[in-house]
């Protein structure tokens, strides 16, 4: 009953079940890391004495850019939600849309690549930045990231850059 006292966190969620495949969306998945890669990365980090960081991206799906045009009925509570002919066009992905996961991953992919990361051939959820002396590794599990690297300062800088 305690929950009722304070305001509950609320979020606008789209009704993704009304979307049609190939018309409103194409892909619906976002890469996840295999457990074996997590273990290999842990083993490598421990052996090299690197420190490990875990990051969770808040409201990850709200960052994605939409490729398709998506229109949505006005949410209840909006000042004009009673007029039946009005719809709104979405600029960014929101929770509930079918294409939110790939949209988010594409955004993260671009963000990491502009920071100089390359995607691993062995697994598409693994990103590596390498120069002569330092190495930075990011493992992506939808909106959870594991970050490790040979240089503490670079890891700290990356955490700031990603924000």
């Amino acid at each position: 009953m305690e929950q009722l006292k304070g305001l509950k966190p609320t979020q606008l969620v789209a009704q993704g079940f009304s979307q049609k495949f190939r018309i409103d969306y194409k892909e619906t998945f976002s890469p996840v890391a295999k457990i074996i890669i997590v273990c290999v990365l842990l083993s490598v980090a421990v052996n090299q004495g690197w420190s490990l960081y875990q990051m969770d991206v808040r409201n990850a799906f709200l960052h994605g850019e939409l490729e398709e045009e998506v229109f949505m009925k006005l949410p209840p509570g909006h000042s004009q939600s009673h007029s039946p002919n009005l719809v709104c066009k979405l600029h960014k992905s929101i929770y509930g849309l079918k294409q939110s996961p790939p949209a988010w991953h594409a955004k993260l992919n671009v963000a990491l690549q502009t920071l100089g990361f390359t995607r691993s051939n062995a697994n598409s959820s693994l990103f590596i930045q390498q120069n002569f002396t330092n190495k930075l590794i990011v493992l992506v599990y939808i909106d959870d990231l594991i970050i490790t690297g040979s240089n503490e300062n670079f890891v700290a800088k990356l955490k700031v850059d990603l924000q």
């Binding site: 290999v40 842990l42 490598v44 062995a122």
Partner: protein, 236 residues
Amino acid sequence: MATSNKGVFLNQQKYIPDILQDAEMLHTKPAITPLDSKLRLDSSSKPPLTFITYQRIVGKFIYLTITRLAITFDVSLLSQYIHAPTTQHLDMMKCILRYLKGIIGRGIVMTRNVYIDITRYTDSDWAGNALDRRSTTGYCMLVGGNLVSWKSKKQQVVTHSSAEAEYRAMAYASCELIWAKNLLADLGFVSHTLMILFCDNQAAMHIASNPVFHEGTKHLEVDCHYIRQQFQAKLI
């Protein structure tokens, strides 16, 4: 997950009591082993009245194998009957739960060994499954001296000899070895040392190292395919 200066410790300490609670076996007596090694599956045992709990708990077991590899074989055995368990499978599930009760605090330790190379152990039984006589492969892989991957899997086909069963296990293993080598290379650790693949069958090792033997094994495989084809075409 806990870290210390010696390494990383992974476990699912909280998850096991959750499963025990779900199965209403929180106060059960712990067992030393998950299943009896001489266990024989009995095809005549009756289906239980309800098996929703069984399906849910086996699902939880699968998640638990991320850190508890001791139950990998048993869980793979139970999940083969997830659609139609019998009372015997329910008893087996209770045995595993009792075993889990005794190992709540255990997990996987990753220690600092300063070298990064790949070692792999494979094994296979021969026609171990009494119902369909297929063999079961087991393997575990170590990267940098730490355990990273393991599995127990029933082979797809019936094998004629233990050497063939082991050889199949080795073939499966080498695929993942190559993948792991590429992964490490991507991470910037190009290793020039050989990857080590352990196997406990002399014949299978000879087949792997000596190309002359290949005719014999190919023959076996062709044999098996041929017979199956004939069977499917309803000729036999």
